[in-house]
Protein backbone atom coordinates (compact mmCIF):
# COMPACT_ATOMS: atom_id res chain seq x y z
CA UNK A 1 0.00 0.00 0.00
CA UNK A 2 1.30 3.49 -0.84
CA UNK A 3 2.17 5.35 2.35
CA UNK A 4 0.21 8.55 3.01
CA UNK A 5 3.43 10.27 4.06
CA UNK A 6 7.08 9.59 3.29
CA UNK A 7 10.13 11.27 4.74
CA UNK A 8 13.52 10.72 3.14
CA UNK A 9 16.86 11.85 4.54
CA UNK A 10 15.29 14.74 6.42
CA UNK A 11 17.81 17.04 8.02
CA UNK A 12 17.66 20.29 10.00
CA UNK A 13 20.63 22.34 11.18
CA UNK A 14 20.46 25.46 13.36
CA UNK A 15 23.95 26.85 12.76
CA UNK A 16 26.37 24.20 14.02
CA UNK A 17 23.61 22.41 15.99
CA UNK A 18 22.10 19.43 14.19
CA UNK A 19 18.50 19.03 15.37
CA UNK A 20 17.52 16.28 12.92
CA UNK A 21 20.16 14.22 11.18
CA UNK A 22 19.01 12.53 7.99
CA UNK A 23 16.01 10.53 9.14
CA UNK A 24 13.70 8.50 6.87
CA UNK A 25 10.38 6.75 7.47
CA UNK A 26 7.05 6.05 5.81
CA UNK A 27 3.60 6.24 7.41
CA UNK A 28 0.80 3.92 6.25
CA UNK A 29 -2.62 5.54 5.82
CA UNK A 30 -5.01 4.98 8.70
CA UNK A 31 -2.32 4.19 11.26
CA UNK A 32 -1.27 5.92 14.45
CA UNK A 33 2.40 6.71 14.04
CA UNK A 34 4.46 7.84 17.01
CA UNK A 35 7.70 9.72 17.39
CA UNK A 36 9.00 8.81 20.83
CA UNK A 37 11.96 10.41 22.51
CA UNK A 38 13.01 12.77 25.28
CA UNK A 39 12.83 16.56 24.94
CA UNK A 40 15.52 17.69 22.51
CA UNK A 41 15.41 14.44 20.53
CA UNK A 42 14.20 16.28 17.42
CA UNK A 43 10.55 15.13 17.46
CA UNK A 44 8.96 18.58 17.28
CA UNK A 45 11.45 19.78 14.66
CA UNK A 46 10.65 16.69 12.57
CA UNK A 47 6.87 17.06 12.85
CA UNK A 48 7.06 20.81 12.13
CA UNK A 49 9.12 20.19 9.00
CA UNK A 50 6.45 17.76 7.81
CA UNK A 51 3.69 20.26 8.68
CA UNK A 52 5.49 22.95 6.67
CA UNK A 53 6.11 25.17 9.69
CA UNK A 54 9.91 24.75 9.60
CA UNK A 55 11.98 24.66 6.43
CA UNK A 56 14.19 21.54 6.25
CA UNK A 57 17.92 21.98 5.63
CA UNK A 58 17.76 18.93 3.34
CA UNK A 59 15.59 15.95 2.55
CA UNK A 60 12.30 15.08 0.90
CA UNK A 61 8.75 15.00 2.25
CA UNK A 62 6.00 13.42 0.16
CA UNK A 63 2.27 13.54 0.95
CA UNK A 64 0.34 10.98 -1.12
CA UNK A 65 3.42 10.73 -3.33
CA UNK A 66 3.64 14.50 -4.00
CA UNK A 67 5.45 17.38 -2.28
CA UNK A 68 3.00 18.94 0.20
CA UNK A 69 1.07 21.86 -1.32
CA UNK A 70 -2.26 23.61 -0.86
CA UNK A 71 -4.06 20.23 -0.93
CA UNK A 72 -1.98 19.09 2.05
CA UNK A 73 -2.90 22.31 3.91
CA UNK A 74 -6.59 21.59 3.29
CA UNK A 75 -6.32 17.93 4.30
CA UNK A 76 -4.15 18.10 7.41
CA UNK A 77 -5.09 18.95 10.97
CA UNK A 78 -2.46 20.23 13.38
CA UNK A 79 -2.30 20.52 17.14
CA UNK A 80 0.85 22.36 18.18
CA UNK A 81 2.62 21.86 21.45
CA UNK A 82 2.33 25.57 22.33
CA UNK A 83 -0.49 27.67 20.88
CA UNK A 84 -2.45 30.67 22.13
CA UNK A 85 -5.86 31.57 20.77
CA UNK A 86 -7.33 34.99 20.07
CA UNK A 87 -8.21 37.02 23.15
CA UNK A 88 -11.85 37.79 23.88
CA UNK A 89 -13.29 35.05 21.62
CA UNK A 90 -15.46 32.26 23.02
CA UNK A 91 -14.76 28.60 22.33
CA UNK A 92 -17.71 28.58 19.89
CA UNK A 93 -16.39 31.67 18.05
CA UNK A 94 -12.90 30.16 17.77
CA UNK A 95 -14.41 27.01 16.25
CA UNK A 96 -16.48 29.11 13.82
CA UNK A 97 -13.41 31.16 12.86
CA UNK A 98 -11.33 28.09 12.02
CA UNK A 99 -14.24 26.35 10.28
CA UNK A 100 -14.38 29.28 7.83
CA UNK A 101 -10.67 28.93 7.05
CA UNK A 102 -11.18 25.69 5.11
CA UNK A 103 -12.86 24.76 1.87
CA UNK A 104 -14.44 21.77 3.58
CA UNK A 105 -15.22 21.76 7.29
CA UNK A 106 -17.32 19.57 9.57
CA UNK A 107 -20.44 20.74 11.41
CA UNK A 108 -19.59 22.33 14.75
CA UNK A 109 -22.14 20.46 16.93
CA UNK A 110 -20.91 16.87 16.31
CA UNK A 111 -17.34 18.07 16.82
CA UNK A 112 -18.35 19.68 20.11
CA UNK A 113 -19.87 16.35 21.21
CA UNK A 114 -16.90 14.34 20.00
CA UNK A 115 -14.34 16.48 21.85
CA UNK A 116 -16.60 17.08 24.87
CA UNK A 117 -16.62 20.87 24.58
CA UNK A 118 -20.31 21.46 25.33
CA UNK A 119 -19.88 22.40 29.00
CA UNK A 120 -17.64 25.40 28.21
CA UNK A 121 -18.68 26.30 24.68
CA UNK A 122 -19.56 29.91 25.52
CA UNK A 123 -16.60 30.58 27.79
CA UNK A 124 -13.65 32.61 26.57
CA UNK A 125 -11.11 30.32 24.94
CA UNK A 126 -8.33 31.89 26.99
CA UNK A 127 -10.09 31.13 30.30
CA UNK A 128 -10.52 27.36 30.19
CA UNK A 129 -8.55 24.64 31.99
CA UNK A 130 -5.54 22.82 30.53
CA UNK A 131 -7.51 19.67 29.68
CA UNK A 132 -10.36 21.69 28.13
CA UNK A 133 -7.83 23.70 26.14
CA UNK A 134 -6.18 20.58 24.74
CA UNK A 135 -9.59 19.21 23.71
CA UNK A 136 -10.40 22.52 22.01
CA UNK A 137 -7.05 22.46 20.16
CA UNK A 138 -7.81 18.89 19.08
CA UNK A 139 -11.23 20.03 17.83
CA UNK A 140 -9.51 22.76 15.79
CA UNK A 141 -7.18 20.12 14.34
CA UNK A 142 -10.23 18.08 13.30
CA UNK A 143 -12.41 20.93 12.05
CA UNK A 144 -11.52 20.40 8.38
CA UNK A 145 -12.19 16.64 8.59
CA UNK A 146 -8.48 16.00 7.90
CA UNK A 147 -7.03 12.87 6.36
CA UNK A 148 -3.92 13.25 8.51
CA UNK A 149 -3.73 14.67 12.05
CA UNK A 150 -0.52 15.88 13.72
CA UNK A 151 -0.50 15.91 17.51
CA UNK A 152 2.62 17.34 19.13
CA UNK A 153 2.90 16.26 22.79
CA UNK A 154 -0.88 16.48 23.17
CA UNK A 155 -1.09 15.32 26.78
CA UNK A 156 1.92 17.08 28.29
CA UNK A 157 0.90 18.79 31.51
CA UNK A 158 -2.47 17.03 31.81
CA UNK A 159 -3.60 15.14 34.91
CA UNK A 160 -3.94 11.32 34.59
CA UNK A 161 -7.73 11.46 34.14
CA UNK A 162 -7.52 14.10 31.40
CA UNK A 163 -4.77 12.10 29.68
CA UNK A 164 -6.92 8.98 29.58
CA UNK A 165 -9.87 11.01 28.24
CA UNK A 166 -7.58 12.35 25.55
CA UNK A 167 -6.30 8.89 24.65
CA UNK A 168 -9.91 7.77 24.14
CA UNK A 169 -10.44 10.71 21.75
CA UNK A 170 -7.32 9.80 19.78
CA UNK A 171 -8.47 6.17 19.48
CA UNK A 172 -11.80 7.35 18.10
CA UNK A 173 -10.03 9.54 15.52
CA UNK A 174 -8.03 6.52 14.40
CA UNK A 175 -11.12 4.36 14.29
CA UNK A 176 -12.64 6.95 11.94
CA UNK A 177 -9.89 6.03 9.46
CA UNK A 178 -7.66 9.05 9.90
CA UNK A 179 -3.88 8.85 10.03
CA UNK A 180 -2.52 10.16 13.33
CA UNK A 181 1.06 11.31 13.82
CA UNK A 182 1.90 11.76 17.45
CA UNK A 183 4.99 12.94 19.26
CA UNK A 184 5.35 12.05 22.88
CA UNK A 185 7.89 11.45 25.57
CA UNK A 186 5.43 9.29 27.52
CA UNK A 187 6.20 5.62 26.89
CA UNK A 188 2.77 4.50 28.15
CA UNK A 189 1.11 6.88 25.67
CA UNK A 190 3.14 5.49 22.80
CA UNK A 191 2.41 1.90 23.86
CA UNK A 192 -1.30 2.58 24.27
CA UNK A 193 -1.90 4.50 21.06
CA UNK A 194 0.71 3.83 18.39
CA UNK A 195 0.67 1.11 15.75
CA UNK A 196 4.15 2.05 14.66
CA UNK A 197 6.91 3.98 16.37
CA UNK A 198 10.20 5.61 15.63
CA UNK A 199 12.38 6.08 18.66
CA UNK A 200 14.46 9.24 18.38
CA UNK A 201 17.44 10.48 20.31
CA UNK A 202 19.62 13.49 19.52
CA UNK A 203 18.27 13.90 16.00
CA UNK A 204 18.61 10.24 14.99
CA UNK A 205 16.18 7.36 14.67
CA UNK A 206 17.55 4.64 16.91
CA UNK A 207 14.92 2.04 16.10
CA UNK A 208 11.57 1.66 14.40
CA UNK A 209 8.63 -0.74 14.45
CA UNK A 210 5.43 -1.56 16.33
CA UNK A 211 5.75 -1.31 20.14
CA UNK A 212 5.24 -5.08 20.51
CA UNK A 213 7.71 -5.94 17.77
CA UNK A 214 10.32 -3.59 19.20
CA UNK A 215 10.01 -5.05 22.68
CA UNK A 216 10.08 -8.61 21.33
CA UNK A 217 13.12 -7.82 19.24
CA UNK A 218 15.14 -6.39 22.11
CA UNK A 219 13.89 -8.33 25.13
CA UNK A 220 13.64 -12.08 25.45
CA UNK A 221 12.97 -11.96 29.20
CA UNK A 222 10.47 -10.63 31.72
CA UNK A 223 11.48 -8.86 34.89
CA UNK A 224 10.88 -10.51 38.23
CA UNK A 225 11.09 -7.86 40.93
CA UNK A 226 11.67 -8.29 44.64
CA UNK A 227 12.23 -5.89 47.52
CA UNK A 228 15.93 -5.47 47.98
CA UNK A 229 15.79 -6.47 51.65
CA UNK A 230 14.20 -9.85 50.75
CA UNK A 231 16.83 -10.78 48.20
CA UNK A 232 19.91 -12.45 49.67
CA UNK A 233 21.38 -14.22 46.63
CA UNK A 234 24.02 -13.29 44.08
CA UNK A 235 23.52 -13.37 40.32
CA UNK A 236 25.80 -16.43 40.15
CA UNK A 237 23.70 -18.31 42.68
CA UNK A 238 20.55 -17.38 40.76
CA UNK A 239 22.04 -18.12 37.35
CA UNK A 240 20.35 -15.05 35.79
CA UNK A 241 21.27 -11.39 35.29
CA UNK A 242 20.01 -8.92 37.88
CA UNK A 243 19.62 -5.14 37.98
CA UNK A 244 19.79 -3.32 41.28
CA UNK A 245 17.61 -0.22 41.68
CA UNK A 246 17.16 1.99 44.76
CA UNK A 247 14.68 -0.33 46.52
CA UNK A 248 14.33 -3.34 44.24
CA UNK A 249 16.19 -6.17 42.63
CA UNK A 250 15.07 -6.91 39.07
CA UNK A 251 15.83 -10.40 37.79
CA UNK A 252 15.97 -10.64 33.98
CA UNK A 253 14.16 -13.95 33.80
CA UNK A 254 14.14 -16.25 30.78
CA UNK A 255 11.51 -18.44 32.50
CA UNK A 256 9.35 -17.25 35.39
CA UNK A 257 8.72 -20.85 36.64
CA UNK A 258 12.42 -21.62 36.78
CA UNK A 259 13.28 -18.34 38.50
CA UNK A 260 10.59 -18.83 41.15
CA UNK A 261 11.75 -22.41 41.74
CA UNK A 262 15.32 -21.18 42.27
CA UNK A 263 14.15 -18.47 44.68
CA UNK A 264 12.12 -21.04 46.62
CA UNK A 265 15.05 -23.41 46.78
CA UNK A 266 17.09 -20.64 48.41
CA UNK A 267 14.16 -19.79 50.74
CA UNK A 268 13.89 -16.23 49.46
CA UNK A 269 10.57 -14.69 50.73
CA UNK A 270 8.24 -14.11 47.80
CA UNK A 271 5.75 -11.75 49.46
CA UNK A 272 7.12 -8.73 47.57
CA UNK A 273 7.42 -10.56 44.22
CA UNK A 274 6.13 -8.74 41.13
CA UNK A 275 6.44 -9.66 37.48
CA UNK A 276 6.91 -6.82 35.03
CA UNK A 277 7.12 -6.88 31.26
CA UNK A 278 9.80 -4.68 29.67
CA UNK A 279 8.58 -1.23 28.65
CA UNK A 280 9.61 1.23 25.99
CA UNK A 281 11.50 3.10 28.69
CA UNK A 282 13.54 -0.05 29.29
CA UNK A 283 14.06 -0.28 25.56
CA UNK A 284 15.14 3.35 25.34
CA UNK A 285 17.56 2.80 28.21
CA UNK A 286 18.97 -0.27 26.51
CA UNK A 287 19.38 1.48 23.17
CA UNK A 288 20.80 4.80 24.38
CA UNK A 289 22.24 4.14 27.82
CA UNK A 290 19.93 6.77 29.33
CA UNK A 291 16.22 6.75 30.14
CA UNK A 292 13.54 8.97 28.58
CA UNK A 293 13.34 10.95 31.82
CA UNK A 294 17.12 11.46 31.96
CA UNK A 295 17.02 12.62 28.36
CA UNK A 296 14.33 15.10 29.33
CA UNK A 297 16.41 16.45 32.20
CA UNK A 298 19.41 16.94 29.94
Amino acid sequence: MTPILEVQQLRKHYGPHIAVDGISFAIPAGSCFGLLGPNGAGKTTTIEMIEGMTRPTAGTILYKGQPPGQRFREECGIQFQHTALMDYLSVREVLQLFARMYQHSVAIEPLVQQCQLDSFLDQRATRISGGQRQRLLLALALINDPAIVFLDEPTTGLDPQSRRQFWALIRRIREAGKTVILTTHYMDEAEQLCDELVIMDRGHIIDQGSPKALLKKHFQHVRVCLDRKDFTLTAEQLGEAIIETANDIEILSQSIDRTIDTLRQHQVPLTSLRVRNPTLDDLFLKLTGHSLQEGEAS
Binding site: R73, I78, F80, T83, A84, Y88, L97, M101, Q103
Partner: protein, 342 residues
Protein backbone atom coordinates in the same frame (compact mmCIF):
# COMPACT_ATOMS: atom_id res chain seq x y z
CA UNK B 1 -13.82 29.34 -6.24
CA UNK B 2 -10.36 30.02 -4.86
CA UNK B 3 -11.14 33.73 -4.63
CA UNK B 4 -14.37 33.00 -2.80
CA UNK B 5 -12.50 30.89 -0.27
CA UNK B 6 -9.88 33.62 0.14
CA UNK B 7 -12.68 36.14 0.76
CA UNK B 8 -14.30 33.80 3.28
CA UNK B 9 -11.03 33.50 5.20
CA UNK B 10 -10.50 37.27 5.00
CA UNK B 11 -13.95 37.98 6.45
CA UNK B 12 -13.50 35.33 9.14
CA UNK B 13 -10.27 36.96 10.37
CA UNK B 14 -11.76 40.45 10.01
CA UNK B 15 -14.77 39.47 12.12
CA UNK B 16 -12.58 37.84 14.78
CA UNK B 17 -10.31 40.89 15.05
CA UNK B 18 -13.28 43.27 15.27
CA UNK B 19 -14.81 41.18 18.07
CA UNK B 20 -11.51 41.25 19.92
CA UNK B 21 -11.29 45.03 19.72
CA UNK B 22 -14.89 45.73 20.65
CA UNK B 23 -14.67 43.41 23.67
CA UNK B 24 -11.42 44.93 24.89
CA UNK B 25 -13.24 47.61 26.89
CA UNK B 26 -10.12 49.41 28.10
CA UNK B 27 -8.75 49.81 24.55
CA UNK B 28 -12.15 50.87 23.23
CA UNK B 29 -12.68 53.54 25.90
CA UNK B 30 -9.14 54.81 25.43
CA UNK B 31 -9.55 54.99 21.64
CA UNK B 32 -12.62 57.21 22.02
CA UNK B 33 -11.76 59.21 25.13
CA UNK B 34 -8.14 60.13 24.46
CA UNK B 35 -8.66 62.29 21.33
CA UNK B 36 -11.91 63.77 22.64
CA UNK B 37 -10.16 64.87 25.83
CA UNK B 38 -7.26 66.31 23.82
CA UNK B 39 -9.59 68.38 21.68
CA UNK B 40 -11.66 69.60 24.61
CA UNK B 41 -8.45 70.37 26.51
CA UNK B 42 -7.21 72.46 23.58
CA UNK B 43 -10.50 74.30 23.35
CA UNK B 44 -10.41 75.18 27.04
CA UNK B 45 -6.71 76.08 27.23
CA UNK B 46 -6.73 78.23 24.10
CA UNK B 47 -10.20 79.72 24.45
CA UNK B 48 -8.87 82.97 25.97
CA UNK B 49 -7.20 85.75 23.99
CA UNK B 50 -3.71 85.15 22.77
CA UNK B 51 -0.86 86.49 24.91
CA UNK B 52 0.86 88.04 21.91
CA UNK B 53 0.19 91.67 21.01
CA UNK B 54 0.30 91.42 17.24
CA UNK B 55 1.45 88.95 14.61
CA UNK B 56 2.67 90.57 11.44
CA UNK B 57 3.92 88.81 8.37
CA UNK B 58 6.12 90.18 5.65
CA UNK B 59 6.98 89.05 2.15
CA UNK B 60 10.63 88.31 1.45
CA UNK B 61 13.48 87.58 3.78
CA UNK B 62 14.58 91.08 4.85
CA UNK B 63 13.48 91.15 8.49
CA UNK B 64 15.22 94.46 9.22
CA UNK B 65 13.35 96.23 6.40
CA UNK B 66 10.02 94.89 7.67
CA UNK B 67 10.67 95.79 11.30
CA UNK B 68 11.77 99.30 10.28
CA UNK B 69 8.22 99.91 9.07
CA UNK B 70 6.93 100.12 12.66
CA UNK B 71 9.87 101.29 14.79
CA UNK B 72 7.71 103.03 17.41
CA UNK B 73 6.54 99.78 19.08
CA UNK B 74 8.50 98.26 21.97
CA UNK B 75 10.80 95.41 21.00
CA UNK B 76 9.16 91.99 21.35
CA UNK B 77 5.60 93.25 21.20
CA UNK B 78 5.20 92.00 17.63
CA UNK B 79 5.76 88.47 16.38
CA UNK B 80 7.33 88.83 12.92
CA UNK B 81 6.90 86.01 10.42
CA UNK B 82 8.57 85.84 7.00
CA UNK B 83 6.72 84.47 3.95
CA UNK B 84 7.94 83.84 0.47
CA UNK B 85 4.59 82.51 -0.72
CA UNK B 86 1.95 85.27 -1.03
CA UNK B 87 -0.91 82.81 -1.28
CA UNK B 88 0.07 81.03 1.96
CA UNK B 89 0.50 84.37 3.75
CA UNK B 90 -2.89 85.57 2.42
CA UNK B 91 -4.54 82.44 3.84
CA UNK B 92 -3.04 83.24 7.23
CA UNK B 93 -4.57 86.76 7.02
CA UNK B 94 -7.93 85.34 5.91
CA UNK B 95 -8.18 83.14 8.98
CA UNK B 96 -6.91 85.79 11.43
CA UNK B 97 -3.65 83.94 12.01
CA UNK B 98 -1.78 87.01 10.77
CA UNK B 99 -3.01 90.43 11.85
CA UNK B 100 -1.25 92.20 9.00
CA UNK B 101 0.82 91.18 5.99
CA UNK B 102 3.42 93.69 4.71
CA UNK B 103 5.29 93.95 1.44
CA UNK B 104 7.83 96.68 2.28
CA UNK B 105 9.42 96.53 -1.19
CA UNK B 106 6.16 97.34 -3.01
CA UNK B 107 4.75 99.48 -0.15
CA UNK B 108 1.52 97.51 0.12
CA UNK B 109 -0.22 95.53 2.84
CA UNK B 110 -3.06 93.04 3.36
CA UNK B 111 -5.50 93.13 6.26
CA UNK B 112 -8.72 91.29 7.21
CA UNK B 113 -11.49 93.88 7.81
CA UNK B 114 -13.29 91.42 10.13
CA UNK B 115 -10.30 91.25 12.47
CA UNK B 116 -10.18 93.78 15.32
CA UNK B 117 -6.49 93.12 15.81
CA UNK B 118 -5.99 93.63 12.08
CA UNK B 119 -7.56 97.10 12.38
CA UNK B 120 -5.24 97.98 15.28
CA UNK B 121 -2.24 96.80 13.28
CA UNK B 122 -3.39 98.87 10.28
CA UNK B 123 -3.78 101.99 12.48
CA UNK B 124 -0.31 101.45 13.89
CA UNK B 125 1.04 101.24 10.35
CA UNK B 126 -0.61 104.54 9.51
CA UNK B 127 0.61 106.09 12.79
CA UNK B 128 4.14 105.22 11.71
CA UNK B 129 3.66 107.42 8.64
CA UNK B 130 2.83 104.79 6.04
CA UNK B 131 -0.54 106.21 5.07
CA UNK B 132 0.22 106.05 1.37
CA UNK B 133 0.73 102.26 1.25
CA UNK B 134 -1.65 100.37 -0.98
CA UNK B 135 -4.08 98.32 1.13
CA UNK B 136 -5.91 95.12 0.17
CA UNK B 137 -8.67 93.38 2.09
CA UNK B 138 -8.83 89.65 2.60
CA UNK B 139 -12.05 88.58 4.30
CA UNK B 140 -12.64 85.38 6.26
CA UNK B 141 -13.89 83.99 9.52
CA UNK B 142 -11.42 83.76 12.40
CA UNK B 143 -9.81 80.40 12.83
CA UNK B 144 -9.52 79.54 16.48
CA UNK B 145 -6.55 77.49 17.60
CA UNK B 146 -8.86 74.56 18.23
CA UNK B 147 -10.14 74.78 14.62
CA UNK B 148 -6.58 74.74 13.41
CA UNK B 149 -5.48 71.99 15.81
CA UNK B 150 -8.46 69.64 15.30
CA UNK B 151 -7.24 68.02 12.04
CA UNK B 152 -3.84 67.56 13.67
CA UNK B 153 -5.25 65.98 16.82
CA UNK B 154 -7.55 63.67 14.86
CA UNK B 155 -4.64 62.79 12.57
CA UNK B 156 -2.38 62.15 15.53
CA UNK B 157 -4.99 59.85 17.04
CA UNK B 158 -5.27 57.98 13.76
CA UNK B 159 -1.49 57.64 13.73
CA UNK B 160 -1.35 56.17 17.25
CA UNK B 161 -4.35 53.90 16.67
CA UNK B 162 -2.90 52.66 13.39
CA UNK B 163 0.70 52.13 14.38
CA UNK B 164 0.26 50.83 17.91
CA UNK B 165 -3.08 49.11 17.25
CA UNK B 166 -1.73 47.00 14.41
CA UNK B 167 1.93 46.83 15.43
CA UNK B 168 1.42 45.47 18.93
CA UNK B 169 -1.34 43.06 17.93
CA UNK B 170 0.74 41.42 15.20
CA UNK B 171 3.80 41.14 17.45
CA UNK B 172 1.67 39.68 20.28
CA UNK B 173 0.08 37.19 17.87
CA UNK B 174 3.54 36.15 16.74
CA UNK B 175 4.89 35.83 20.27
CA UNK B 176 2.05 33.71 21.63
CA UNK B 177 1.72 31.46 18.58
CA UNK B 178 -1.63 32.70 17.19
CA UNK B 179 0.06 33.47 13.87
CA UNK B 180 1.63 30.02 13.78
CA UNK B 181 -1.81 28.47 14.33
CA UNK B 182 -3.27 30.53 11.50
CA UNK B 183 -0.41 29.54 9.25
CA UNK B 184 -1.41 25.90 9.75
CA UNK B 185 -4.64 26.71 7.87
CA UNK B 186 -4.83 27.44 4.12
CA UNK B 187 -4.63 31.21 4.69
CA UNK B 188 -1.70 33.32 3.45
CA UNK B 189 0.11 36.47 4.58
CA UNK B 190 -1.81 38.76 2.22
CA UNK B 191 -5.21 37.59 3.50
CA UNK B 192 -4.12 37.98 7.11
CA UNK B 193 -2.54 41.42 6.61
CA UNK B 194 -5.53 42.69 4.59
CA UNK B 195 -7.91 41.63 7.35
CA UNK B 196 -5.80 43.50 9.90
CA UNK B 197 -5.69 46.64 7.72
CA UNK B 198 -9.43 46.66 7.08
CA UNK B 199 -10.39 45.84 10.66
CA UNK B 200 -8.24 48.63 12.04
CA UNK B 201 -9.40 51.03 9.33
CA UNK B 202 -13.08 50.44 10.14
CA UNK B 203 -12.47 50.96 13.83
CA UNK B 204 -10.37 54.09 13.34
CA UNK B 205 -12.85 55.71 10.97
CA UNK B 206 -15.76 54.82 13.22
CA UNK B 207 -14.03 56.23 16.29
CA UNK B 208 -12.83 59.35 14.44
CA UNK B 209 -16.30 60.03 13.06
CA UNK B 210 -17.86 59.72 16.51
CA UNK B 211 -15.21 62.01 18.01
CA UNK B 212 -15.65 64.54 15.22
CA UNK B 213 -19.44 64.64 15.57
CA UNK B 214 -19.28 64.88 19.37
CA UNK B 215 -16.66 67.62 19.45
CA UNK B 216 -18.32 69.55 16.61
CA UNK B 217 -21.55 69.56 18.60
CA UNK B 218 -19.69 70.97 21.60
CA UNK B 219 -17.27 73.38 19.89
CA UNK B 220 -18.79 74.19 16.47
CA UNK B 221 -15.70 73.66 14.32
CA UNK B 222 -14.93 75.57 11.19
CA UNK B 223 -15.69 73.16 8.33
CA UNK B 224 -15.67 74.76 4.90
CA UNK B 225 -15.08 71.70 2.71
CA UNK B 226 -16.79 68.41 1.93
CA UNK B 227 -17.30 65.81 4.65
CA UNK B 228 -16.90 63.08 2.06
CA UNK B 229 -13.52 64.45 1.00
CA UNK B 230 -12.45 64.65 4.63
CA UNK B 231 -13.50 61.02 5.12
CA UNK B 232 -11.47 60.00 2.06
CA UNK B 233 -8.41 61.77 3.46
CA UNK B 234 -8.93 59.96 6.78
CA UNK B 235 -9.17 56.58 5.02
CA UNK B 236 -6.04 57.13 2.92
CA UNK B 237 -4.07 58.57 5.83
CA UNK B 238 -5.03 55.72 8.15
CA UNK B 239 -4.16 53.11 5.54
CA UNK B 240 -0.73 54.67 5.04
CA UNK B 241 -0.12 54.64 8.78
CA UNK B 242 -1.45 51.08 9.26
CA UNK B 243 0.89 49.92 6.49
CA UNK B 244 3.79 51.54 8.34
CA UNK B 245 2.71 49.66 11.51
CA UNK B 246 2.65 46.40 9.54
CA UNK B 247 6.17 46.97 8.22
CA UNK B 248 7.45 47.63 11.74
CA UNK B 249 5.76 44.50 13.09
CA UNK B 250 6.46 42.30 10.07
CA UNK B 251 9.38 40.39 11.56
CA UNK B 252 10.04 41.17 15.19
CA UNK B 253 8.86 38.99 18.07
CA UNK B 254 9.82 41.47 20.79
CA UNK B 255 7.19 43.87 22.10
CA UNK B 256 9.95 46.05 23.56
CA UNK B 257 11.68 46.39 20.19
CA UNK B 258 8.38 47.00 18.41
CA UNK B 259 7.49 49.65 21.03
CA UNK B 260 10.82 51.40 20.47
CA UNK B 261 10.38 51.36 16.70
CA UNK B 262 6.80 52.62 16.94
CA UNK B 263 7.90 55.48 19.19
CA UNK B 264 10.73 56.26 16.80
CA UNK B 265 8.13 56.72 14.06
CA UNK B 266 5.40 58.51 16.01
CA UNK B 267 7.38 61.14 17.89
CA UNK B 268 8.95 62.85 14.85
CA UNK B 269 5.53 62.87 13.18
CA UNK B 270 3.93 64.40 16.25
CA UNK B 271 6.39 67.30 16.16
CA UNK B 272 7.11 67.71 12.47
CA UNK B 273 3.70 67.12 10.91
CA UNK B 274 2.15 70.40 12.09
CA UNK B 275 -0.11 68.71 14.62
CA UNK B 276 0.39 71.37 17.27
CA UNK B 277 2.21 74.21 15.53
CA UNK B 278 2.95 75.48 12.07
CA UNK B 279 6.33 74.92 10.44
CA UNK B 280 6.03 78.16 8.41
CA UNK B 281 9.13 79.57 10.08
CA UNK B 282 11.05 76.33 10.42
CA UNK B 283 14.32 75.82 8.47
CA UNK B 284 13.91 74.45 4.95
CA UNK B 285 15.48 71.06 5.82
CA UNK B 286 12.93 70.55 8.63
CA UNK B 287 10.08 71.29 6.24
CA UNK B 288 11.63 68.93 3.68
CA UNK B 289 11.88 66.22 6.34
CA UNK B 290 8.25 66.79 7.32
CA UNK B 291 7.21 66.21 3.70
CA UNK B 292 8.45 62.61 4.01
CA UNK B 293 6.04 61.83 6.84
CA UNK B 294 2.55 60.47 6.04
CA UNK B 295 0.98 62.35 8.94
CA UNK B 296 2.11 65.66 7.38
CA UNK B 297 0.04 64.92 4.29
CA UNK B 298 -2.94 63.64 6.23
CA UNK B 299 -3.04 66.73 8.44
CA UNK B 300 -2.32 69.19 5.63
CA UNK B 301 -5.04 67.72 3.41
CA UNK B 302 -7.58 67.61 6.25
CA UNK B 303 -6.73 71.17 7.25
CA UNK B 304 -7.07 72.41 3.68
CA UNK B 305 -10.53 70.84 3.43
CA UNK B 306 -11.73 72.07 6.82
CA UNK B 307 -10.22 75.56 6.93
CA UNK B 308 -9.97 76.48 3.26
CA UNK B 309 -12.77 74.42 1.73
CA UNK B 310 -10.26 72.77 -0.62
CA UNK B 311 -11.54 70.20 -3.12
CA UNK B 312 -9.86 66.95 -4.14
CA UNK B 313 -7.93 68.60 -6.98
CA UNK B 314 -6.32 71.08 -4.59
CA UNK B 315 -5.11 68.32 -2.31
CA UNK B 316 -4.39 65.70 -4.97
CA UNK B 317 -0.64 65.67 -4.30
CA UNK B 318 -1.30 64.77 -0.63
CA UNK B 319 -3.71 62.02 -1.66
CA UNK B 320 -1.25 60.64 -4.19
CA UNK B 321 1.57 60.53 -1.65
CA UNK B 322 -0.66 58.77 0.91
CA UNK B 323 -1.83 56.23 -1.70
CA UNK B 324 1.73 55.50 -2.87
CA UNK B 325 2.91 55.18 0.73
CA UNK B 326 0.12 52.65 1.42
CA UNK B 327 0.88 50.51 -1.64
CA UNK B 328 4.65 50.50 -1.14
CA UNK B 329 4.54 49.82 2.60
CA UNK B 330 1.87 47.09 2.31
CA UNK B 331 3.90 45.32 -0.37
CA UNK B 332 7.01 45.64 1.80
CA UNK B 333 5.16 44.28 4.85
CA UNK B 334 3.90 41.28 2.81
CA UNK B 335 7.44 40.57 1.63
CA UNK B 336 9.02 40.89 5.07
CA UNK B 337 6.20 39.19 6.98
CA UNK B 338 7.14 36.25 9.18
CA UNK B 339 4.52 34.02 10.78
CA UNK B 340 6.44 32.70 13.72
CA UNK B 341 9.41 33.16 15.99
CA UNK B 342 12.74 31.57 15.05
Amino acid sequence: MKRLQALQRFFAMLHARNLEFVRDRAALVWALMFPALMILGCAIIFSGNSQRLLTIGYLGTDAAAAQAVMPSLPEGSIEWLAYEDLSLASTRVRYHQLDLLLDPGQQRYWVNPESARGKIAEQLLHANGHTGWQSQWIQGRAVRYVDWALPGILGMNMMFASLFGVGYVVVRYRMNGVLKRLRATPTNAFEFLSSQIVSRLILIMLASTLIFIGCDWLLDFLMLGSYLNLFLVGVLGSMAMISLGLVISSRTDSEEFAGGMLNLCTWPMMFLSEVWFSLDNAPAYVRALAELLPLTHLVAAARSIMLEGAGLVAIQHHLLILAITTVVLTALASMLFRWQRD
